[in-house]
Symmetry: C2
Subunit: 514 residues, 2 copies
Amino acid sequence: MNGAESLVRTLLANEINLCFANPGTSEMHFIAALDKVKGMRCVLGLFEGVVTGAADGYYRMTGKPASTLLHLAPGLANGLSNLHNARKARSGIVNIVGQHATYHLQYDAPLSGDIEGVAMPMSHWVRTATSSQTVATDGAAAVQVAHGTPGKIATLVLPADVSWGAAQESTPTVLHALPRELQADGLAAIAQALRGGKGTVLLLGGLALRGRALEWAGRIAAKVGCRLMSEGQNARLERGAGRVSLERLPYDVPGAIAALKGVGRVVLAGARMPVAFFAYPDQPSLLTPEACEVLSLAEPDQDIEQALEALAHELGAASASPAVCELRRPALPSGRVTPEGIAAVLGALMPEQAIVVDESISMGRGFFPPTSGAAPHDWMNSMGASLGYALPVAIGAALAAPERKVLALVGDGSAMYTLQALWTMARESLDVTIVILANRSYNILRSELAKVGAGTPGPTALSMLTLDTPNLDWVALAKGHGVAASRAHSLEELARALGRALTDHGPRLVELVI
Amino acid sequence: MNGAESLVRTLLANEINLCFANPGTSEMHFIAALDKVKGMRCVLGLFEGVVTGAADGYYRMTGKPASTLLHLAPGLANGLSNLHNARKARSGIVNIVGQHATYHLQYDAPLSGDIEGVAMPMSHWVRTATSSQTVATDGAAAVQVAHGTPGKIATLVLPADVSWGAAQESTPTVLHALPRELQADGLAAIAQALRGGKGTVLLLGGLALRGRALEWAGRIAAKVGCRLMSEGQNARLERGAGRVSLERLPYDVPGAIAALKGVGRVVLAGARMPVAFFAYPDQPSLLTPEACEVLSLAEPDQDIEQALEALAHELGAASASPAVCELRRPALPSGRVTPEGIAAVLGALMPEQAIVVDESISMGRGFFPPTSGAAPHDWMNSMGASLGYALPVAIGAALAAPERKVLALVGDGSAMYTLQALWTMARESLDVTIVILANRSYNILRSELAKVGAGTPGPTALSMLTLDTPNLDWVALAKGHGVAASRAHSLEELARALGRALTDHGPRLVELVI
């Protein structure tokens, strides 16, 4: 067996059985190995941002890393911005990046580049395999890093001659590292702080927003009367009818400051200190009141569910009943397209167990309240805020949960960064419905321009913020990628098109003209 | 005036008057400054790879850097692979990359990342501006680096508070550095080597392939009977009827080795040692015969034209007549699409002074001979071989030479990496004709798979190399971006569609189904 085959076998032995790929010459032995070793599903993306984003989406749904296969430094570079997003979402990914044969590097061939240098800023772990005999060990080490608590980005550089050289039969498997131990000694102080009622916020992030962890948090809030809040963006939040009710920290700085006004204590459970997305002149970076005390119950590298359970017991909240969202489907609205109207259509039509991938940016700020009583569903945000995350993440989510409907809500500007994802959806018949929120501008930047004090946009500035002249035709773009699509100009048309798309199986795109 | 305005003024004072942009919040003051200061043309790209590739194309035509405007680490990351290509093409570019306000960095907001780390692998120079008072100096330093011999990638990181803080009125201008001096003492030995006739190759690269430099090289070859050859890929080669006739080093290793068989001496003029694109088991990385002597007349950081002129005088070749290509338009072929047939159509229809941007990969290897007698034109290759270079480079070339027709020849797989370029072409009404060579596969990888000894592709490998299921519909994709398009299935249809596109003004796309 050669090095590539030994690496594929090692990935499989460690339960990495999905590979998102955009390969080139230096990865041909890895590709060939996939036909010799059964069990690795390989999904092609026509651009590397699709590949890395899909791996992020897969991890968010499964808690299990997928692998990617990328071509040399430029191929990795094209995947970086969605690795940035994955990293901020604390998703685990094993990147395999092909490299020239070791002896060929000295000649600085056209595709040569500093792969490790490109990988570093967005990876937690980078290694270049040096021998066919040890590449299996390298692969196992990469899986161990990626599979940590929380997930991490591991990048293994695979020279062509390491791929094609003779390897041993061994396929090392690794134990998953345990989460860092919780500090029991702070628990009493945190419990005491939480008894402060409305003046205290229990701020949830990451795994605190799912399953039993969320229920423990709900019991705590029910018992002590503290406020329960999620961060402004969440990798995956379980919500909808029957799920624990919580507030979400607003995106805009004045809104967030207002929401946290009068709060004396914030207890973090897998969440980070609330900070502004951007700095604005004359506005603070920190969103909590100046005198606010911040305590940490559990960091993302700890067992958050266990921490919340222990805290619930400490507070005598173990058998409290959390406040949950009631089933409340909005009536289908009609008329002109408004953010509230879109949210009502979503709330009315979202199917049970939908996975919402939200990159709605300026339009979607108000989507939460009208959908809180919809059928139970998961809601994902971009954690790194680099545009172009939603369509690729939808691919990974759909592959992870083929029995569930994925609903991607994407601004037209955002969707353009990784529109090639549509082709992979068509090829793999993924059950994804996409709503393109086509306001034909980088609308968020209009408000940001004012907020940073850059004044009223002149003609040049305006031309940098508008996506008209020409308008993008998303029905044509979808068709070009093999995805059926329709266009809606009103809320009735949206309801009709979305209703149909959600009933069909397979990728469907609705362009909502705003 | 604020820092952003002082930077824009400095760029303009240093003759940087074109900015390819994909901005975000942190760049809003720079954008606003463009309305306060007149003279900077700003062109929007909907993906950063379009932005950086366009700057490459502009430099290739003008020898003058353009600026780019990119949003934080992920925005720069999206532009990296075309910066890789630009770097290998020795194009000068001034990247301005927005950064969070300096005091906001400590909070690790969602978009925070290691911008300098991302920039390093593809930049020759990286600096983070630290003060509004000195950002003009930083900008001038960036221009000086980018404007070097050869062109270089300079990346200036611009924190938001440096943009919005108060700055001085001064706009420093810089002198362009002189090329490194030529070594006169080796000239006699090189002249002696060239007298070896057919056993000697004068290998031209970079600026040696244009204007007077190419003519001097032609005179030398005519006088001493040596072979005149270009590298396999060239940033811009002036060719066609009346231009100096030369060979091109073949891409494939056996072809290149055969072409260099029996060569005893290679004299490099702006070219690099001939090396293989990739390493293949049992094939050498170096393409020259083992005993071949390699001499360097001039490196890319020297004045290559002056070196060739001095050499021509040394050889008494100053008044020799170079062998030039005769005007020879092929007859329009008909029938089934073949590489030779496409080349004949191109040779017959290419207009005077066309700029050909070639990313035809597997189909285009044979395009050179039938087009050597076409009307005089420029031919550009990808120098870094990262896919997705052609459409963005065509934008920059069209803006640099609005009176000339740009003809982009692009494989369907390649075009998908940066298809967003079509929208910018439509918006700016650029006179670009695109031929998509739609073989619906990564065809080159089929042959590479065999060449690296990875055997016959099985079903998984094959599925990674094919772009069918579904087929991309390039007519729809073009329409979606606002570009008129048609489809051709035969050489007659290609000739008809291409003839029409080349006669029209503005972007036109022809999908050639192969």
